[in-house]
């Protein structure tokens, strides 16, 4: 009878030593990247709060009738940016932590949850890329 620890020709794909090391290395880098992103987001939030008070009077003097609308547009853009960037960071960090723990504890569920987080990260990034591509195409046609 075959042991569960031994791969056989009937099992299809495995996380081999090589592949596990690649994923382990990937989680190290993604953890570093997401920590930098968290720091950047925190700085962005502090800057938004501090600069918000300065920008408001400047907007009122530059666009006398439109300061409220312009302020709202900037606020919405900042919130959208914060949410998208925040979601990307969250899922990247979640992948880093769960996939690593899944490999170290040999836990299939944690490993799968880690992969799911990376998948969601790529979905958000993909949608953002398509929007960015459309913006670029629009700039080209408006030349």
């Amino acid at each position: 009878m075959e042991s569960n620890n031994q791969p056989s020709i009937f099992k299809d794909l495995l996380v081999t030593h090589t592949m596990g090391n690649h994923i382990h290395d990937t989680t190290k880098w993604t953890r570093f990247i997401s920590i930098v992103f968290i720091v950047c987001l925190s700085l962005f939030l502090i800057l938004a709060i501090v600069a918000g008070a300065t920008i408001e009077p400047a907007l009122a003097s530059t666009f006398p009738g439109l300061s409220n609308i312009m302020g709202s547009v900037i606020l919405v853009a900042a919130i959208v940016f914060f949410l998208v960037f925040g979601a990307l960071t969250f899922f990247l960090l979640r992948f880093a932590l769960l996939a690593r723990r899944g490999l170290e504890m040999r836990n299939q569920t944690l490993f799968n949850e880690g992969l799911k987080s990376l998948k969601i990260y790529f979905i958000i990034y993909g949608v953002f890329s398509i929007l960015s591509l459309l913006t670029n195409a629009f700039s080209l046609f408006s030349l």
């Binding site: 791969p7 090589t18 690649h22 994923i23 836990n107 992969l115 790529f122 960015s132 591509l133």
Partner: protein, 143 residues
């Protein structure tokens, strides 16, 4: 069972049906991100070459245009290199899952590792340059 195969099964985590589903979807979105990036870089290059017509003629205008073109080219080269690895990851992982090819799957995750590693190294370089610029600026204002 030879020693190599036993060592290869060290992580004892399978690529089960759930992992396969996540990896396949990841590959699709990874490819979308990479292709969008390639098209975006192409459009940016076209905009950098044919855009800025309002800048006018003369030495100052051509210098501005050249420096903007150089900036786009540097971004383009780095971006293309990064996204080639993402594209390779998507292709190899898809081949690995579809053809039950362990080697392709390993190569795919190696490409993903390199993709995030390059991004991490670029972040380190960027932070270092920011720190140097900050120190230089403090040195200049401190005089």
């Amino acid at each position: 069972m030879d020693n190599q195969t036993q060592q290869d099964d060290l992580f004892d985590v399978e690529v089960d049906s759930i992992s396969k589903k996540h990896i396949s979807e990841m590959a699709v979105w990874g490819k979308i991100v990479a292709i969008s990036a390639f098209i975006s870089y192409g459009l940016s290059l076209v905009i950098a070459i044919f855009g800025n017509r309002s800048a006018g003629e003369g030495f100052a205008a051509s210098t501005t245009k050249l420096s903007s073109l150089a900036g786009v080219l540097i971004t383009l080269i780095i971006g293309v290199i990064i996204n080639i690895y993402l594209f390779k990851f998507s292709n190899e992982v898809k081949n690995g899952i579809d053809g039950t090819d362990q080697g392709s799957l390993e190569n795919g995750f190696n490409s993903l590792r390199i993709y995030f590693k390059i991004i991490g190294i670029l972040i380190i370089i960027f932070i270092s340059l920011m720190v140097i610029a900050l120190l230089l600026a403090r040195g200049v204002t401190g005089l």
